[in-house]
Every structure is written in structure tokens, then in C-alpha cells.
Subunit: 123 residues, 2 copies
DNA sequence: ACAATATGGGAAAAATTTGTCCCTATGCAA
DNA sequence: TTGCATAGGGACAAATTTTTCCCATATTGT
């Protein structure tokens, strides 16, 4: 695990939520777990763009931040299930608000994002 | 400006909002601009941890994503003002929801974040 | 025997983001 | 004339995040 050289700022609510939600796939992990996709392999199938390694790392962090719990069944081949904690569930409406805004403006968003990319890339 | 080698995924609303909000200070920039802090120097004073350079870069991106507009007054010394577009204003309630959750659970958040840090750092 | 399943972590490389340093411009104040 | 305020960008360095590759476990099916 990478050890930060620069400490995070934890002043306001935005800093704090940022600290637990920042990470390429964390929001989606919470979302899919909430939808009932509990096993690591299911989550990996849901998020094929993510590397397996990173999903594991972010699941560990979510767990350390007490947003999810992990149950390991002592069977072979191994079976693992993640679930939201109550704390994690309290985040779902917030994530829903993010997704809703993104859905509502998806056309416009796609346009401005792609336009900027073209500008930077040079078409 | 850095040119991505790996294209972003723009599948769902969460991808899309992530694309425009990701960046260390973007959310705070939107927030402070909404509160009436329009000039770059004001914003820099509000966010002293951020480097001047990065604030400029992120303001540029917010502008390219049409969340803010920039007015340059042709005076000396230069004067610049940023404002939220209507599109940008529509994001404010979403950001408020994030901040609200962070405020509501700030004690618990501070605890779990610091505990994890100690674990990683080794006290 | 060998491959497939399911889960997870170490090590190092690659990608990306953020910070630092320096340079530009102009008018005003000490 | 030197220094401050205001604003912004290039070049490069440092920090951080993410990916890739490989190894390990133990059972079931071929």
C-alpha cells in the first residue's frame, strides 16, 4: 500500500467525503454492492474496465472506512461476500443524486467532455 | 496539458459526472464561486493548500466543461471574474448533498480515516 | 497430470495528477 | 528604482494512482 507523503486535509464535510469516495471505482463498487452484487467476481464482471488488483485495493479501503463488510466463507473454491454497513447505506442517496444529475445531463456532458478531449488531443 | 493515453469510460451518469468533477479542487472551486468568490486571487486565498497553477488548470477545465464562465476585464492590474453557468448552478444541490453527508458524519469519518492512516503508516 | 474456478497480494512499471520554479505584463506606492 | 498586486502559462520534478505480471491455495472436471 502506498504511504502518503503529504497528509490529507480533513477540514470540512467535503474533504471528509472526498477522502472516502476518492478512488477510480469506489462509488461504483458501493453502488453495485447495494444492488446485490456482493461477490468479488460479480463486481469484476460489472466493472470490466477496472483491474482486478485495484478493485481489491479499493474494496479493502471501503472496508477500513467501515462502509462495507466482508464475509469469507471457508469453502473451496473461496467464496467472499461484501455488504454495505448501515453507514455505507447512508451514502446511497448521495450517490444516487450524483448519478441522477449525470443521467439528466448525459447528452450535454458527453458533448462537452468529448469536445474538450478533441481540443487537447488535436482532433 | 497532459494528454491521456487511456480513454475515459462515459457509460453511465456516474462516469459522466465523475469526468467533470474529478480533480483535487474542482468541487470546492464550484462551491466558492457559487458563494460569490469570483476572482482567482479570492479563490486562491480560500484554498491556500492548492497550488496556483493547479487552480488555474482546473478553472480552465471547468470552463471547457461549461460549468463556469470567465470574464476578463481589460484593466491593469488584470481583473478576472468567474461565474457559474446555469449548467454549473444545477450542480450545486448535488455538491450540497455531498457536503451535508460529510458534515453529518464528520466525527465518525475523521475517526475511520485517521485510524486507517495510522494502520498504513504504522502509528 | 492439467486446466478451470475463486480470491488475494507483492513488486515493479506505466499512467496520471499535482507541485515547484521561473518568466511575462503594467501601473501604483514607497 | 525596487517591490507588490494581478493573472497566466511553460517546463520539469515529485507525488500519487492504476495497471501488469506473476505467484499461491485447494477442489472439481477432463
Amino acid at each position: 500500500m502506498y504511504e502518503r507523503k503529504i497528509p490529507p486535509s480533513l477540514n470540512c464535510g467535503l474533504d471528509l467525503i472526498g477522502e472516502v469516495l476518492y478512488g477510480k471505482w469506489k462509488i461504483r463498487l458501493l453502488w453495485f454492492i447495494n444492488e446485490g452484487n456482493k461477490r468479488p467476481s460479480e463486481l469484476q464482471r460489472k466493472i470490466p474496465d477496472a483491474s482486478r488488483r485495484l478493485l481489491n485495493m479499493q474494496l479493502n479501503e471501503l472496508q477500513e472506512h467501515e462502509l462495507i463488510t466482508k464475509v469469507i466463507y471457508p469453502v473451496v473454491p473461496p467464496k467472499v461476500e461484501y455488504s454495505l454497513t448501515e453507514f455505507g447505506k447512508s451514502l446511497i442517496p448521495v450517490i444516487a443524486a450524483l448519478g441522477q444529475w449525470g443521467d439528466e445531463y448525459q447528452e450535454r456532458l458527453r458533448t462537452v467532455i468529448l469536445e474538450r478531449l478533441e481540443q487537447v488531443t488535436g482532433q
